[in-house]
């Protein structure tokens, strides 16, 4: 049980880190960025590829992959979101354009095999791979009947520190005030002399970098990297997390992430592994029906 609780905390940290990026974009733009789970997968896949296929040290690979994910955030903004804002398209259109980009990213990794168009990016096609032992520093301790792996435990302080930094930036700095102003009312923010487009680009960059980092941590800790980890593990769970915490609320997403990790582990212990997924979505459904603003959401506004 203790081991399960530890697992709940570390998988919760990954959910939280992923969902913070998700909820940040929703808070500022009122748009669900469905390409976020593809960015998650891209971070993990690129790190693996840099370490195993290109022989880079793990730390350099991590930094390069996070930078690439941040760039991907800019691509999302410039290709999928900005043209639609210019044309005053309904927000539902942004769902389709981000899904289109997610399809492209996943297909590029999925089709990556040695000697093909995307061979430089990924060589394992649709297979699931894991870091070879020794490429990632991973000391392991045994305390009582607990097994503590550094790669899993490290996730917890990393995510908490990052989320504290993000919370500080949003609440107390000039940039954070700008972001909150754009979230509140983009037109008023523009009239106050804010560069709204730049603020939105910045949001996407932060969000995608966090999403990519969450993917890297997931790939290292669970040893499962494939083109489908985003779709299978976090795409819909990320939605559950931001609903549990309240749409658009960053602290809510953090609490929601840990809460979902806990709910899933409790379901696993009480009902067996097959019930794990279903319970999470039943919780999501109940939460929306009973308290749609989430645990920490502000008053519900009409958004579509």
């Amino acid at each position: 049980m203790d081991q399960q609780l530890l697992n709940a905390i570390f998988i919760g940290s990954i959910y939280a880190l992923f969902a913070v990026g998700y909820t940040l974009v929703f808070g500022v733009l009122d748009i669900l960025n469905l390409a976020h789970s593809a960015v998650f997968m891209f971070g993990a896949a690129l790190t693996y590829s840099l370490v195993v296929n290109h022989g880079q040290p793990f730390w350099i690979a991590t930094i390069l992959a996070i930078a690439a994910c941040a760039l991907l955030g800019l691509v999302i903004e410039h290709v999928c979101l900005r043209p639609l804002r210019r044309r005053r398209a309904p927000p539902i259109a942004a769902l389709i354009s981000t899904v289109g980009l997610a399809l492209i990213i996943v297909a590029a990794i999925e089709q990556g095999q040695a000697g093909t168009l995307f061979g430089w990016l990924w060589v394992d096609g649709g297979n699931s791979v894991t870091f070879p032992p020794g490429t990632v520093p991973n000391p392991t301790w045994h305390v009582g009947d607990l097994t503590i792996e550094a790669s899993k435990v490290a996730i917890i302080p990393i995510s908490i520190a990052l989320m504290l930094v993000l919370g500080y930036v949003i609440r107390y700095t000039q940039v954070g005030r700008g972001l909150r102003a754009v979230a509140e009312n983009p037109r008023a923010a523009r009239l106050m002399g804010l560069d709204v487009d730049r603020m939105i680009s910045l949001t996407l960059v932060i969000s995608s970098a966090l999403g990519g980092l969450a993917g890297i941590l997931f790939g290292v800790a669970l040893g499962d990297i494939s083109p489908y980890i985003g779709r299978d593990n976090v795409e819909v769970r990320g939605l559950a997390v931001i609903v549990l915490g309240g749409m658009g609320s960053v602290p809510g997403a953090v609490i929601g992430g840990y809460l979902l990790g806990l709910i899933e582990v409790l379901a696993l212990v009480a009902l067996g592994s097959s019930a794990r997924g279903g319970v999470a979505f039943a919780a999501l459904f109940l939460m929306l029906v009973l308290r749609p603003q989430g645990l920490f959401g502000a008053q519900l506004r009409e958004r579509i």
Binding site: F26, D30, L32, L34, V79, C80, P83, L84, R87, A89, P90, P91, I92, A93, L95, I96, S97, V99, G100, L101, A102, L103, I104, V106, A107, A108, E110, Q111, L117, R231, D232, E235, V236, L239, A240, V243, M247, S274, A275, G277, G278, V279, F281, A282, L284, F285, L288, V289, P292, L300, E302, R303, I304
Partner: protein, 307 residues
């Protein structure tokens, strides 16, 4: 290009060699039409795959255990989808926009992961073998059903119900103050959409020898795909979703040269269409881009597409 050349020079061979594709387009059109009903009434519901699963599993299970005729099976699947539609609609229809979308995603995933994969009678993760499937002759049934569904939706959108849905989509508060029973009309749209989706699911199961509980079939991936049919085709006109389903389903045949990279082409296509025609292919102005100049047109103010 061969695809189109064959379509125009040798339609009989085309029909014979692409029967399954045409049937799939028909099924996708029916399901996209179910998505159209909810979008037309201003609700972003992604529940269609859940109701499809209910229709499909009910009809196949009845066939396997009771050997009842196809019509009875499909009717039972549709009825059950409608009942579940009422039960799900009652709590979730208070939600709007993205919240409704996420709640319905919760519904379909809880149904798929929680119920279908855990109840022994559904074959759990292995799926169900449908021994009485009829992939080749089912196409006529599908096309007739598509025509009936489209005719019904066309009549409904032209009548009192359609006017109420349109009013709710454009401004819920204004509709309410005009004396429109918003909750009731939204419920009608949601249940009708559930019934059509259940019907489409039961028909699809009849065409396939195997009912697969995968994400591509009854999960979020399918829901997003159906949404892309409806939005890409245009959700302001009842033919929009059909055009969307037709175009997106035939993309792999149109871009045959793309081979394995077809998903990249599809993604680029989705982005390009939505950027250049955010209202959909059959968007504002109805069939304006394909209507010839001499075709008589009625000038009137058109409602903006939902969203």
């Amino acid at each position: 290009m061969d695809f189109f050349i064959q379509l125009f020079t040798d339609p009989v061979t085309f029909w014979n060699s692409h029967t399954l594709l045409i049937a799939q387009i028909g099924i996708n059109s029916i399901i996209a039409s179910s998505m159209f009903i909810v979008l037309y009434s201003g609700q972003l519901s992604l529940a269609a795959p859940g109701f499809m699963a209910i229709g499909a599993y009910t009809s196949v299970l009845m066939d396997l255990y009771w050997h009842t005729p196809l019509a009875v099976n499909i009717a039972a699947g549709v009825a059950l989808a409608g009942v579940v539609g009422v039960l799900v609609g009652l709590p979730v229809l208070r939600l709007r926009g993205v919240f409704l979308a996420i709640a319905t995603i919760g519904f379909i995933e809880a149904l798929r992961l929680g119920v279908i994969l855990n109840v022994p009678i559904t074959g759990e993760g292995l799926g169900l073998k449908n021994i009485d499937a009829d992939p080749l002759n089912g196409i006529y049934l599908v096309l007739v059903c598509l025509a009936v569904v489209l005719f019904l939706i066309w009549r409904l959108t032209k009548g009192r119900l359609g006017a109420a849905w349109s009013a709710i989509r454009q401004d819920e508060l204004a509709a309410l103050s005009q004396g429109i029973n918003v909750a009731r009309y939204k419920m009608i749209a949601f249940v009708l959409s559930a019934v059509v989706a259940g019907f489409g699911g039961a028909l699809e199961a009849h065409l396939q020898t195997f009912v697969d509980p995968g994400d591509q079939q009854y999960g979020v991936t399918r829901a997003v795909q159906i949404l892309s049919f409806a939005v890409l085709g245009g959700s302001g006109h009842f033919l929009g979703p059909v055009v969307g389903a037709l175009v997106v389903t035939t993309l792999p045949w149109i871009f045959v040269q793309a081979l394995n990279y077809i998903n990249i082409v599809t993604g680029l296509f989705l982005i390009a269409v939505i950027i250049f025609r955010p209202q959909g292919i059959v968007g504002r102005g109805g069939l304006a881009i394909i209507r010839p100049a001499w075709w008589p047109r009625r000038d009137r103010v058109r409602a903006p597409s939902p969203g």
